[in-house]
């Protein structure tokens, strides 16, 4: 099986304090993969680091065996719904069309093909009938589906979604789940940050269990053991957070220059 994502010795700091320590795992292609962990365990930070949105303190990320820059067109990101202001003066179709913006059409108007792809993406999430609606008039679940449609319009192979099921009504949840299984059948890889342990085993084939450090990564059955869950949900490691405090207080680097990890 091909590797869709490799995270190698990844350490990420926020305000100089490490919030992810030496995360190291590989994920296969063509699976639905959940990133699970308690609040503040660094799930969103991990996703943002993979997408190159936060500077890394150490380590590297490879997608399909290449750097993000090289395979950007094969990767799509769905941010947390709350990360934007939904009062922004625009409509549903416009947001879906944003999935067609790229470097190659910087100054240009979008083409008819772009419009068709955006409409298809809306259709897939069941939001085409709302194409002209102002985005503030959508329910939380509908907003989430619009975000997913925007990502689908990118026509990528690997999708990274941040909490697509958070605050979503039952109908939207079902629509998203159906879509995910379709995507899997087409051989797409979807990595999803998810907060709900109850549904996790039902939704995902693979899992990454986090709590500032990696607890376990692999097929769901192997990851979801009582021992792993205790490790993940039993609080952060005391020594690790003490060391993080010292790094922040004294402004130490987390890596010396001659010991950088390279692909």
């Amino acid at each position: 099986m091909q590797t869709a994502l490799e995270v190698h010795n990844l350490t990420v700091s926020y305000n100089r304090r490490p919030v992810l320590w030496d995360i190291d795992f590989e994920l296969p292609e063509g699976k639905l993969i959940g990133i699970i962990g308690p609040n503040g365990s660094g799930k969103t930070t991990l996703l943002k680091s993979i997408m190159g949105l936060i500077p890394l303190s150490s380590g590297y990320v490879q997608l399909f065996g290449q750097s993000l820059e090289e395979v950007r067109h094969r990767v799509s990101y769905v941010p947390q719904r709350e990360s934007v202001d939904w009062d922004f003066p625009t409509n549903v179709l416009d947001v879906a069309l944003m999935g067609r913006y790229r470097r190659s059409n910087l100054f240009r108007r979008l083409s008819g093909a772009d419009r068709r792809i955006a409409r298809e993406a809306l259709e897939k999430v069941g939001m085409l009938e709302f194409a002209g609606r102002q985005i503030s008039q959508l329910s939380g679940g509908q907003q989430q589906r619009v975000f997913i449609a925007r990502s689908l319009a990118q026509q990528a192979d690997l999708y990274l979604m941040d909490e697509p099921f958070a605050g979503v009504d039952a109908a939207s949840e079902q629509a998203i789940l159906t879509l995910l299984s379709e995507m899997k059948q087409q051989g797409k890889t979807v990595i999803i940050v998810h907060h709900d342990l109850q549904t996790a085993s039902r939704f995902f084939d693979h899992m990454v269990l986090l709590n500032t450090r990696l607890v376990s990564a692999g097929p769901t059955k192997e990851v979801l053991t009582t021992q792993h869950l205790q490790q993940a949900y039993g609080g952060q490691l005391t020594i690790l957070s003490q060391v993080a405090d010292i790094i922040q207080d004294r402004d130490f680097p987390v890596r010396e220059k001659q010991f950088q990890d390279k692909p």
Binding site: K48, M51, G52, L53, E69, R72, H73, V75, S76, Y77, P79, S83, V84, D85, F88, P89, T90, N91, D94, V95, M98, G99, Y101, R102, R103, L106, F107, R109, L110, Q134, S136, R150, Q154
Partner: protein
């Protein structure tokens, strides 16, 4: 009236220059300001405007002349330094954005005033008029000024048009834009430069102190009228243009009146007008909506009272006097009278004799639908929210007025087409079931 014709015939070349200048500056600031507004950087715009003053002064001290191009360069440089300073403070210190903005604004402006005072006391030739940067000098713009600022404004407009969709995405969701591989850093740099430029030329019209108004007020007024960013940018430009024209006109008929402050006053009037009169989002529209709701609730409550009395006595269409209605439900007597008359006009009630009313057929139908919604909701609360039967009434009193036919249909399906409510009262049949 004469002055109006005189002014708008543009026979006076001076008028033409001033109007052209004010319009170009107003429109470009208004358009660029839309993005400042949507990115929630209104105060940053204000700080940049104030921070431009020391740049203008230094440019004058170094060159010794008031050439607009040189002063503009100085303005842009110090505007940019202020942006970098704010970014640096936020990213590298524990200070938050509001403090950074306050610090940069006051420090730069203080420095600017200091330099300005020094220049004025140096007795250097040609310094006269530099203080106009404080409150603008729209009325005394020269042809050369308008050429330079007009060209700048035009370049700004073209840049915004060319990068419109990218600026929109950067304002809406910069993280996503970065994830899609767009050069967000460069776009943000461009947007910031455009803002600094718009501010730098805008202060010609209204000055450093009032510049934020030229940038932000048109955008915030426009936002009230539309939910489409293209329309918003267009309206914002129209507001900028209108206030530019009429600001110059007012200072033309009353030469003692300063143009810049008048432009700002006119913009503020437009903004207040928008806050009050805009459809849907305006205060007036909200009030009208609320009044409509109050009337709907009163009408439905009266009809429901007739239904309740009818249910008690087994006869829905019998006439009732106001006392009986008041006994059943605590209306304010005058309000009740108004409500009864309105229902009569809608042919839902019929006045039988003085103080006696009865339901018409249509009125009975309407009243049973309200009771139906009330009881369906009570049952839903009881079944799905596990609320005790004696706790559901007050909630349903409000929600009965809100339920739409679609929600009503869903409720009915969800509850399995029920017949009785939690108090064992009969739920009247829906319109479709007859």
């Amino acid at each position: 009236m004469n002055s109006l014709i005189e002014f708008f015939s543009f026979s006076d070349p001076n008028v033409t220059i001033v109007v052209l200048g004010s319009v170009l500056l107003g429109a470009s600031a208004a358009i660029v300001g839309c993005f400042t507004f949507l990115r929630k950087r209104a105060l940053v715009g204000d700080a940049v405007a104030h921070a431009i003053l020391p740049g203008v002064c230094v440019a004058f001290m170094l060159s010794g002349q008031k050439s607009p191009l040189i002063l503009l360069t100085g303005a842009v440089i110090s505007g940019w330094i202020s942006l970098l300073a704010m970014d640096y403070i936020v990213n590298r210190t524990k200070l938050k954005a509001d403090t950074a903005i306050g610090l940069v604004l006051t420090v730069f402006f203080g420095l600017g005033i200091m330099l300005l005072t020094a220049i004025q006391h140096s007795g250097s030739a040609g310094q006269a008029g530099l203080d106009k940067f404080l409150f603008g000098k729209a009325a005394s713009m020269s042809r050369q000024d308008v050429m330079v600022f007009g060209t700048t404004a035009l370049i700004l407009l073209i840049l915004v048009l060319v990068f419109f969709k990218e600026f929109k995405l950067v304002a809406f969701d910069p993280d996503y834009a970065r994830s899609a591989g767009l050069p967000v850093r460069s776009l943000e740099f461009l947007l910031a430069t455009i803002t600094v430029l718009a501010v730098a030329v805008g202060i010609q019209a209204v000055g450093v102190v009032l510049m934020a108004a030229l940038l932000i007020t048109p955008a915030s007024a426009a936002r009230f009228w539309t939910d489409d960013i293209r329309m918003m940018v267009f309206l914002s430009a129209v507001f900028g243009v209108l206030s530019g024209i009429f600001g110059s006109y007012i200072s033309y008929i009353a030469p003692a009146m300063p143009t810049g402050p008048w432009i700002v006053v006119l913009l503020s009037i437009l903004a207040f007008g928008s806050v009050f009169f805009a459809p849907r989002q305006g205060i007036l529209a909200r009030l009208r909506l609320q009044r409509g709701n109050t009337r709907k609730m009163l009408a439905e409550n009266i009809l429901k009272t007739f239904y309740a009395l009818g249910e008690k006595e087994g006869s829905f269409l019998r006439p009732r006097n106001t006392d009986a209605l008041l006994q059943q439900r605590a209306f304010r007597p005058n309000t009740l009278k108004r409500g009864l008359r309105r229902l009569q006009r809608r042919n839902l009630l019929k006045k039988v004799s003085d103080g006696k009313w009865r339901l018409t057929e249509a009125g009975f139908e309407e009243s049973s639908q309200i009771v139906r919604r009330h009881r369906l909701w009570e049952l839903y609360l009881n079944k799905r929210l596990s609320l005790a039967a004696d706790h559901v009434h007050n909630d349903a009193e409000a929600i009965e007025h809100i339920l739409t036919p679609e929600v009503e249909a869903q409720l009915e399906r969800d509850l399995g087409y029920p017949i009785l409510d939690p108090h064992e009262s009969k739920i009247p049949p829906g319109r479709s079931q007859k």
